[in-house]
Amino acid sequence: MSSSKRPFTTVPALLAFLLAGATAVGSEEKPVERSREQVAFGIEVAQLGLWKEATYRWEKAVGLDPENARARNNLAVAYEQMGDFDRANQEYERALELEPNNIYIRQNYELFREAYERKKRTDRRSGSN
């Protein structure tokens, strides 16, 4: 009796094993997916004001998927928030290269440029010695 049940118990176990394996392989092979997860988590922490953690997440997201324009946009916002204007500029420009028609990135970039230019103007106008 027990021997007749064996095939039915082994099939689900085998399926479960295969699925688990497939997921494990999948997670290793899907950096794009993992990049998206990091982006989402970064947004959650940024909304709590934890910009350093958010920066870490989005840097990781960009590392996993350098073509992720959204991660680059968010990273630019984080750099801007931290006062690192040069790196923010670099990330915005890269994000726009990847998604030139994205109105949100464009809007962020335009607002950023305004602040950036104002800062540069202030530095220039106050000819410090």
């Binding site: 998206r36 982006v39 989402a40 970064g42 947004i43 940024a46 909304q47 324009a69 959204r70 946009n73 968010n74 916002v77 801007e80 928030q81 931290m82 006062g83 028609n101 994205n102 109105i103 949100y104 990135i105 809007q107 962020n108 607002l111 950023f112 602040a115 104002r118 800062k119 202030t122 106008r125 106050s126 000819g127 410090s128 010695n129």
Partner: protein
């Protein structure tokens, strides 16, 4: 909330082409609609230009001045800066009466005989074949002598327990800015079409210019550790009847954020969009 789809720009001539571009537009619209965005407030920190950690106290001392207006530039600026620093910086602002550094206005120079001295120097330089300098350059050099007198500032510093000292040069002048001003306006023609009409009209205007150079001096050594120069200008129409004093305050109001940003960090506020 979702993103609006951008125009694709695809225009197929054939029916199949039109179908394909419509499909492409649909795919784009759907993918765009899936974008989640989050608006977040940001505060961009602009760090102070000068490291003032060493100093607990600040002394706004005095300014050399040049003006053709009837304003006590030195006293007004010292009072204004002290008030601003009291509310907008972490430094303790010292109230002290410092002897004015000097007025270098044309009228004062003439009355004190300084202009004659300059003429003598000019003639001497000419006779000796030395390089000549303009009167303004000479006035600047004279002001620099005072502002870079380390011994004098060290004495002031000693008297007030070595604070950070602010001094500098101020020049406030009014000049005629009358002239032709371009005047663009839209009118409608007989067919109700808008038309741009350009014209130049003569306007009588007065410009007020404020040049300020701030010296930040270490009270312990008497040495200047940082200098910054600002120039602001405002122009009024003749009918606006704005006094020199209110113009001065308007220009100082523009300059103050930049002055304060030398000593304390400032922030730009705005909103940005995060994308998922």
């Amino acid at each position: 909330m979702s993103e609006k789809s951008a125009p694709t720009g695809g225009r197929g001539r054939t029916e199949m082409g039109r179908g394909l571009s419509a499909a492409a537009a649909y795919v784009l619209a759907v993918s765009a609609a899936c974008t989640s965005y989050y608006e977040v407030p940001i505060e961009v920190p602009i760090s102070a230009k000068l490291d003032v950690e060493k100093y607990n106290r600040i002394l706004v001392a005095s300014f050399t001045t040049q003006s053709n207006e009837n304003i006590d530039l030195d006293a007004e600026t010292v009072r204004l800066l002290r008030n601003q620093l009291r509310t907008r910086s972490a430094l303790q602002v010292l109230d002290a009466d410092i002897e004015p550094l000097g007025d270098f206005s044309e009228k004062t120079l003439e009355q004190s005989g300084m202009l004659d001295k300059f003429k003598e120097i000019e003639e001497q330089a000419k006779a000796e074949g030395e390089e000549q300098i303009s009167r303004q350059e000479w006035v600047d050099l004279e002001q620099d002598k005072i502002l870079e007198d380390e011994e004098f500032w060290r004495e002031v510093g000693e008297e007030y327990q070595n604070p950070l000292i602010v001094a500098g040069k101020l020049a406030f002048t009014s000049e005629s800015r009358s002239g032709l001003v371009r005047n663009d306006r839209y009118t409608r023609d007989a067919f109700n079409r808008p038309q741009l009409v350009r014209s130049n009209t003569f306007q009588e205007r007065t410009g007020f210019v404020l040049n300020a150079e701030f010296y930040f001096i270490d009270g312990e050594t008497g040495r200047s550790i940082h200098r910054e120069r600002f120039t602001e200008e405002v122009i009024y129409g003749r009918d606006e009847q704005t006094s020199a004093l209110s113009s001065y305050f308007e220009l100082m109001d523009r300059l103050l954020p930049n002055f304060l940003s030398i000593l304390s960090p400032q922030t730009f506020r705005g909103t940005r969009i995060l994308l998922k």
